[in-house]
């Protein structure tokens, strides 16, 4: 009990030492500007901005700040959901017909749109207003899904006494398509002013009449926030399948050139030094002609913007969320709202983003394929190892196979350092590197007489720890980790590597103490465990709540088992209390930070404070849904769970072979128990805990086989 408390207190102390650092943080101060112009070019990709075809956009990105918009919304990555998300400042959705927006004075089916709007909303718009006809459905959709509230941006601007206007549309002849209004609407579905009827396509043409568009912009020049919707990219996108690739590219280049000239024209007329301009593409092009387009370019040209745009939400240089744009626009007018987007300096921002985009898209697109292949190989290696064990083959063969398996997480962690853009090459290179690590560890084993598996485990722990402390972003960029584009997490340690870190740590500790038992070694292990818990928990490093609970419980249980073979009830209570205190402290530290710096935990606690028990209930439901979604993925999750339950049963109700091993290698047996506990806790306390449990199982299997090899020898 005493020792258990000492472990918990040590972890607490380590937190307190770093607490002051987390609380001290200085934020950028924005200067208020008078006008914002948003140029909305949907389906734009980073590769579309070139010095040859779009010289003005190119100059803007050099002059201002450029980043990549992660276009995740509350639903699909559609323009309607994306505009609603910007408007809400949180994840949100639109509705099927959210693009059907009109000027209030427009007559449709012999009736003024304003009158129809009044009938459904009880709000009579002014003739110059633009009305979002689906506002009730949009609100209902978001309320039902407990998403953000579209209209927040419009409301906030109105509260500041500012006016909004939208010009342009994406109409395809009689098919009305005006999603731009969704960004600037208020919660009643009203934009103050605008010209969005199809007269801007002029002379019956399908494409935008830019001269007419420029004339229309001049009529709304007095508004504070003006959104210009360039519809030609949407028009092209709608018929992309009909084009041959070459002709499509020619048309795209033509359209982009026209848009570039148009923006230049408008800027020359309207932009002053107090004008902030946003060039954004709310949703990505999904056609096969435009590869790597899920992250869309965002250019902000304003008094404070230059270099690579970064967001507090993502903490990833160059990655911005749609929801960040809401406060960013508001911060142009008031200093009371902090701009969630800040700048980072790079020598060549565009090239940096291009590389980042390429890497993120490669990981996102090929993650499933590459991991399926590598995990299949891994399973094959395990099977071969079992067969070799069964056939009592020399230890070196089995050990080599185990080294190959255990080196995979480490190899996938350092792979982002090598630029590979071909999935076959990636797999090939991963196999080569695994083999290389295996050979190196075997050589170290020969030279230094250190168990090769311990070496590989040590390097795995060391690399992850260094990455978390020094911010190399290896975990964030690894293909085995969370993906930026999917938007589940942007920083810290994901569940996959949390599993690897805990598994490798327990594995290393187990072998270390098994080699030679001494109190000094035990104390060293205790310090290592404290460090691991700290790295997983601390808001500036791992910031993984489920991981913290897992690490606290599993590592504490393992350590207590090392100290004394039997755990008593009071030990369990002490571990639970210690874990609770650590998580509370972690939450306290996170909530104490400015809101833009808060992690998921801090934000969830704020939800809990604001919405009470219903907020907590919603968070639990959301986490459970994600849990089930991941387990249900191709039913593999269920298969894994059944296998894992069977393994747990073998460990806790050992058969003759396991009992024999338990007697010979008590510490290894305790370590295996520790890994099982880690997997169970990870599964319960993490929304994608099955991935952590899966990575932990690698260490379980390898340590078990290793122990059996030892035993048989």
């Amino acid at each position: 009990m005493k020792k258990t408390l000492i472990i918990s207190i040590s972890i607490l102390l380590s937190f307190c030492c770093f607490a002051s650092e987390g609380l001290a943080n200085d934020k950028p101060d924005n200067i208020a500007t008078k006008k914002v112009i948003i140029y909305m070019i949907d389906n734009l990709s980073l590769n579309d901005i070139t010095s040859d075809n779009t010289p003005y956009l190119w100059s803007l990105q050099e002059k201002g700040g450029i980043g990549l918009l992660n276009t995740i919304t509350g639903g699909e990555r559609t323009i309607k959901n994306a505009c609603s998300t910007i408007s809400a400042g949180k994840l949100a959705v639109g509705s099927n017909e959210a693009h059907l927006n009109f000027q209030a004075a427009t007559v449709k089916n012999n009736e003024k749109v304003g009158d129809v709007f009044f009938r459904s909303t009880n709000f009579l718009p002014k003739p110059e207003n633009i009305v979002v006809t689906n506002i009730n459905i949009i609100n209902r959709n978001n309320e039902q899904r407990r998403l953000g509230s579209p209209g927040h941006l419009g409301d906030s601007l109105h509260t500041l006494g500012l006016t909004t206007a939208v010009v342009g549309n994406s109409d395809r002849f009689d098919v009305n398509d005006r999603p731009g209004a969704l960004i600037l609407m208020n919660s009643r579905g009203i934009v103050d002013n605008g010209m969005i009827e199809n007269n801007n396509t002029g002379s019956g043409s399908y494409w935008t009449d830019y001269a007419l568009l420029h004339e229309q912009i001049e009529t709304v020049i007095d508004n504070d926030v003006i959104l210009v919707e360039y519809g030609d990219m949407t028009r092209l996108e709608s018929m992309h399948a009909m084009f041959s690739k070459t002709v499509y590219q020619q048309e795209r280049i033509k359209i982009l050139s026209a848009i570039d000239k148009s923006i230049q024209n408008i800027d020359q007329k309207l932009a002053t030094e107090n004008t902030t301009r946003y060039i954004l593409s709310p949703s990505p092009s999904r056609n096969a002609y435009i590869p790597s387009a899920l992250l869309t370019p965002l250019i902000i040209v304003g008094p404070d913007n230059c270099g690579v745009l970064t967001s507090y939400s993502t903490r990833q240089d160059g990655i911005i969320l749609l929801s960040n744009l809401n406060k960013s626009i508001l911060s142009c007018f008031t200093t009371t709202i902090k701009n969630p987007i800040y700048n980072t300096s790079y020598t060549n921002s565009y090239n940096y983003l291009k590389e980042l985009n390429k890497h993120a898209t490669f990981n996102y697109t090929h993650q499933a394929w590459i991991l399926t292949i590598l995990i299949s190989l891994l399973v094959l290696l395990v099977l071969i190892a079992i067969i070799l064990l069964y056939k009592k083959k020399p230890r070196i063969y089995i050990e080599s196979l185990l080294l190959l398996i255990l080196s995979l997480p480490l190899v996938l962690l350092i792979m982002p350092l090598i630029p590979v853009s071909n999935r076959y090459m990636f797999v090939f290179l991963a196999i080569i590197l695994c083999s290389l690590f295996t050979i190196i560890t075997l050589i170290i084993n020969k030279l230094l007489k250190i168990e090769s598996i311990m070496v590989i485990l040590f390097f795995t722990i060391l690399t992850i720890c260094l990455d978390l402390i020094l911010g190399f972003d290896l975990v964030a960029r690894s293909i085995m980790s969370y993906q930026i584009i999917s938007g589940a997490r942007y920083y810290g340690i994901g569940n996959e590597y949390m599993g690897v870190l805990i598994g490798a740590t327990i594995g290393f500790a187990t072998l270390y103490i098994n080699r030679k038992y001494s109190i000094t070694r035990l104390n060293f292990i205790a310090i290592l465990f404290i460090l691991i818990v700290f790295l997983i928990a601390f808001p500036f490093f791992g910031i993984n709540v489920g991981g913290t609970i897992t690490a606290c419980i599993a590592l504490s249980v393992t350590l207590v088992m090392f100290y004394k073979s039997k755990i008593r009830f009071r030990d369990v209570i002490a571990i639970i209390i210690g874990t609770g205190i650590i998580v509370s402290l972690m939450a306290f530290l996170d909530v104490s930070q400015p809101s833009e710096l808060q992690s998921h935990l801090g934000k969830n606690i704020n939800v809990l404070l604001n919405e009470g028990i219903s907020g907590l209930f919603y968070i639990i439901i959301r986490k459970l849904e994600m849990h089930l979604q991941i387990i249900n993925y191709r039913y593999l999750g269920w298969i894994f769970l059944v296998i894992f339950a069977a393994i747990s049963l073998i460990i806790y109700r050992p058969n003759q072979m396991m009992s024999q091993m338990k007697d010979s290698f008590r510490f290894i047996y305790d370590g295996l128990k520790g890994i099982i506990i880690a997997a169970i806790i990870a599964f319960i306390f993490n929304d994608s805990g099955i991935t952590a449990a899966a990575t932990l199982s690698i260490y379980f299997v390898c340590i078990l086989i290793y122990a059996l090899v030892y035993d048989s020898n």
Binding site: R172, V175, S238, M242, F243, T246
Partner: protein, 734 residues
């Protein structure tokens, strides 16, 4: 010395000419020959018999008639047209039906735009999408690029517009006339038949000029026959191949969602009668001495789908060079049955064009009765068979599982007194394939009767065999009868097999001739059991036994694999492996993996040789022959494509077939028995070695058939059934 050069040169020339004779037909175009392809979509034989069609009846009396398998790779109506146009079973995209006259204004492109004041002409849009300008006279498909992109996703990838392309390459002119537009929807699928690889049709008119508004007609429009006839007359001198969409029957189908069912039937009847009147006016315009006339129905209507006929529609072909009768092709080798792949070769063979196509030329078999009524009866048989097949299979599967379960129960609890039930059930199960060879005589008119015939017939035969013979003798009798009957049927054209519930399904169109995998499994298993058991009773030297058994199994293998009979490649490999394993077992050789591998290798080499010979020398190559032909011309890409298709079918069969349950249960059961009844196995090997030999050979056959056949699950399940039956019967004897 010169002779040495001449000899190989001559050999090369012979080989090259052999190849060329098979895959292409010499180009010799006679401009005066014409073909007219008329589309009367969404009709059934029943619709034709119900309507008053005097002109069609006259035409039928001088033509070939038949049922055409129309299946394509997906359910879009355009895919049926594309399959005909490509001469391959393919799929295409929604929207492929949107072709236009070049100068026609486009009001609506689905999911792209719509307008009441058209801005673009179809030609302008085509130029925008493809960067190439069509001629004024051309018809353009605005989804051509999209179709092209989609076509490469298929396995194997295809090139659209083969009819147009072949015509272009042979200087033959194609004219497409007519449409199936309703007041609110465009439907110009007929243009798919005539377009080339770029989505262009040489000439024609598919615009709104070809129909007139009529509020009383389905879809609010009807084909203007006067205008259509005028157009035909004007294009006649400059056309080699006419493609004419009569439209009205399609309109009935397009508007059926808002129409009462009985009105739909009436509207379809009216449309067919209108079309018949049109035939009355059209036929005099054509030179019947030099014009081939094809009347096609590429898609089934909803009433046909309700009756589970998604694959067979009527087809009438008037060929001035042939007499009247039933249509057939080497693809189906069955009179009265052709496939949509055969239309392309038939047209271009008639027009004497130079072309290559996977399908086969249609010919007309002279018969006494080629009426539509007779086709309707034939179709009814196929529909009944399709409806009855699944319940009958489930009944057989249930009986097999019941036999397994009772056998297990009897032996597990050592309740040997109940062995008689096991034996009767096994006799019943093994006699059902034999009974099903004749069940088609009932025409499958009633599902209940078919089920009763199977159940009562099976139990009766099983009971009689049990009363008359010892269990092993009963097995010998029933497997002997089955093996001989099936072998004879194979040599006589598989007439009984094809119409059996274990035979092929003409509507699904998987296989039209030869022996399918279901019967192949039964034939192989019954032959192994029969041969082994009968040889065990003959007192001759071992090598004579080996020779006799091997000879019989070779006869069976020939029946299964010979391209002229069974034409089942996987079956041939399995049967040769089985024959090899049989020899090894009967000569008391120890079986190991090396020997099995050698046997398998020899079997594969033999089969590839047979298939290659078939491909090289047969004018009517089987599937395997065609596959080898494709390999020779297409290289490794084709090989992998075939492999992928076969693996896809295997996966699909494992997932969806009820027989997977039998196979899985059998496999588990065999493994379990091997562990649980080890003692019984040992005693069986001593007391009834022939039975043990049967079980061992059948296990190897079952595994082989699963590995080398695309639908090997069923054959494997059936072979394992024979193996387990032998095991139970053997145990009951000791």
């Amino acid at each position: 010395m010169k002779k040495f050069y001449i000899l190989p040169l001559a050999l090369i020339i012979v080989i090259v000419s052999l190849f060329n004779s098979n895959i292409s037909i010499a180009a010799n175009v006679f401009a005066d020959k014409k073909a007219v392809l008329i589309i009367m979509d969404y009709i059934d034989t029943k619709d034709l018999t119900m309507a008053n069609t005097p002109h069609l009846e006259t035409l039928v009396q001088n033509s070939g008639t038949g049922l055409m398998n129309i299946r394509s790779k997906n359910l879009y109506p355009s895919s049926a047209y594309m399959s005909i146009a490509v001469g391959y079973r393919v799929g295409t995209i929604n929207g492929a039906e949107l072709s236009f006259n070049t100068n026609e204004k486009v009001k609506n492109l689905p999911n792209v735009f719509e307008t009441d004041e058209p801005y673009w002409s179809a030609g302008e849009l085509y130029s925008l999408f493809t960067n190439s300008k069509p001629n004024e006279s051309n018809l353009v498909n605005l989804y051509a690029e999209n179709i092209k992109k989609n076509s490469i996703k298929y396995n194997p990838p295809y090139e659209m517009g083969q009819i147009g392309k072949i015509a272009k390459n042979n200087n033959l002119s194609i004219t497409v006339l007519g449409n199936s537009d309703t007041v609110d929807k465009l439907n110009r699928n007929a243009a798919i038949l005539g377009m080339d690889e770029n989505g262009l049709v040489l000439q024609g008119d598919i615009s709104s000029k070809l129909y007139e508004y009529d509020s009383l007609m389905a879809g609010g429009t009807k084909t203007d026959h006067d205008v259509l006839l005028e157009k035909i007359e004007s294009y006649l001198p400059s056309t080699n191949l006419f493609i004419i969409d009569l439209g009205d029957t399609t309109r009935v189908e397009m508007s059926r969602t808002i129409t009462a069912d009985h009105i739909v039937l009436n509207q379809r009847k009216m449309a067919i009668e209108r079309n018949d009147e049109f035939f009355g006016q059209l036929l005099p315009l054509l030179d019947q001495e030099s014009t081939m006339l094809i009347i096609l129905t590429p898609n089934p209507n909803k009433d046909m789908l309700k009756e589970k006929n998604f694959g067979l529609t009527p087809v009438i072909i008037y060929d001035p060079t042939q007499s009247d009768g039933l249509l057939s092709s080497t693809t189906t080798r069955r009179p009265g049955l052709i496939t949509n792949l055969d239309i392309l070769p038939t047209i271009f063979s008639y027009l004497e064009a130079d072309f290559t196509a996977p399908g086969a030329n249609i010919h007309i078999n002279k018969v006494d009765n080629n009426s539509i009524e007779m086709l309707d009866e034939e179709l009814q048989l196929h529909k009944n068979l399709r409806t009855t097949r699944n319940p009958l299979h489930i009944l057989l599967i249930s009986l097999i599982l019941l036999a397994f379960a009772i056998g297990l129960w009897v032996n597990y609890y050592k309740s040997y007194g109940n062995n008689k039930y096991v034996n009767i059930l096994i006799n019943c199960v093994l006699s059902i394939p034999f009974l099903w060879m004749f069940i088609s005589m009932s025409n499958y008119t009633s599902l209940a009767i078919s089920l009763l015939i199977t159940l009562i017939g099976g139990l009766f035969v099983g009971g009689v065999l049990y009363l008359l013979f010892r269990p092993i003798d009963a097995i010998l009798v029933i497997t002997g009868a089955t093996s001989i009957l099936l072998t004879l049927d194979c040599y006589l054209g598989s007439k009984l097999m094809l119409l059996s519930p274990l035979g092929s399904d003409a509507i699904a169109g998987g296989r039209y001739y030869g022996v399918g995998n279901d019967f192949m499994g039964i034939l192989l298993a019954s032959s192994v059991v029969f041969t082994t058991l009968i040889l065990s009773r003959i007192n001759i030297k071992t090598y004579w036994k080996a020779l006799l058994g091997f000879a019989y199994l070779l006869i069976v293998s020939n029946a299964i694999g010979n391209p002229s009979f069974g034409a089942n490649v996987g079956g041939l490999i399995t049967s040769l492996v089985t024959a090899g394993v049989f020899v090894l077992f009967i000569t008391d050789r120890k079986i190991n993996l090396n020997k099995l591998f050698i046997v398998l290798l020899l079997a594969v080499i033999s089969v590839v040789s047979v298939a290659q010979l078939d491909a090289l020398f047969s004018t009517n190559p089987s599937h395997a022959g065609k596959a080898i032909n494709s390999l020779l011309t297409g290289g490794p890409q084709v090989f992998f494509s075939i492999l992928r298709t076969k693996l896809g079918i295997l996966g699909n069969t494992i997932y969806s077939s009820h027989w997977s349950v039998v196979m899985l249960v059998s496999a588990v059961f065999l493994i379990y028995s091997w562990i649980r009844f080890k003692e019984q196995f040992a005693i069986l090997a001593l007391k009834a070695p022939s039975i043990m030999m049967c079980v061992r050979i059948l296990i190897i056959s079952g595994i082989t058939v699963f590995l080398v056949n695309d639908t090997g699950v069923i054959a494997s399940a059936l072979i394992f059934t024979y193996a387990i039956s032998c095991f139970w019967v053997g145990i009951s004897e000791i």
